[in-house]
Symmetry: C2
Subunit: 210 residues, 2 copies
Amino acid sequence: MSHADTKTRIMDTATQLFARDGFHLTSLRTLTEQANVNLAAVNYHFGTKEELLQAVISRHLLPLNNIRQQKIEAVLAQAEADNKPPVAKDLLHAFIKPTLDFRNSGPGAKDFIALIGRSLSEPDETVRIYFIQQILPIFKLLFTGLQKALPELPANILMTRLQFTLGTMGHAMSSNLRPDQMVPGLPEMLSADELAKELINFVTSGLEAP
Amino acid sequence: MSHADTKTRIMDTATQLFARDGFHLTSLRTLTEQANVNLAAVNYHFGTKEELLQAVISRHLLPLNNIRQQKIEAVLAQAEADNKPPVAKDLLHAFIKPTLDFRNSGPGAKDFIALIGRSLSEPDETVRIYFIQQILPIFKLLFTGLQKALPELPANILMTRLQFTLGTMGHAMSSNLRPDQMVPGLPEMLSADELAKELINFVTSGLEAP
DNA sequence: GTCTATAGATTGATAGAC
DNA sequence: GTCTATCAATCTATAGAC
């Protein structure tokens, strides 16, 4: 990581620290020190601290959302071709799985996904807004797709359950609650793949609840 | 609220602002100004800002957790008396419903529950720890109860799903995502009671997923 | 108990030399 | 592009008068 150029080193370190400590608790001094760059480099390359955050979010979220959009549209197109309604679990899989796959693509990716997960519950609007803005089109696509999959479910109940789903995802991706700290003597934790499967199972069951 | 004594006015305002803006983004100047007390009053009555947070959390969380514990133990005792395993949904109801009931007991209560919901995903340890500490005994009680209710579910999967449940609850209690902003043209939102029912349904279905 | 005044530390941002 | 030095604003916390 320390071989990359200054701009990349700043973004990598910012991703990690924003995810771990939050945006406001991460000072530019801590950040630039850990990234081994000069304090003034952030302002030179990004303008302000907030613009750095925008750059960090957009760098990976734009491509990730493109993948999600493609996968959801593929599920909808297939259902159309089969002349059947789409299946809720397939849609949720298309929405969730790319996130978890990206998360497993490297340590930096894990930091990024944790940052995204935390953005959902970020108290400060200036942080939350960049994230919401970018996920909104995908969210609407997912919503209308699920209306076709579960036509008997009233729209406001579907929306409520979809909000629960977002909350579950955000928490799963960014939690620093250690299960084994909470209840000692647990068997080994789930692998990343098992966790992905469990997450999709959990929210699918929740969405399809009677 | 402005008729109460200084100490109470500080705690009420702190609850509201910590929940809305987060602990670190709330300055003592903003807080004391809105509470109509002198800046130095916080340090006089509570010592430090962090001790104020502890006081604010303990004030309502201790009694709330006592209620939860009683309700869970009642479900377990009844199951024991009937010589049957407890039902997962009853346990979750005992865990979740008191929180939502308290939330509906007044505007200050709503602020408090939002603060609790946000504590789960708080990046800073010093904030998260006070909350975790106090919820841990109840969480263990719920966990062992659910093991009896769902004996075929491996412990680490149950723990994972219980974490999802906590995430869903925290998000539901503190979210400032407005559903109607995300997808326009929705029918009216759910009432507090409907939301409670939906939340319990959602996590019960998730926990019992095949 | 409440107030003013201020200490002491930290923050984001920038000016200007190299 | 990178650096040092510094400004101006903010923060928590406290000392001391009333």
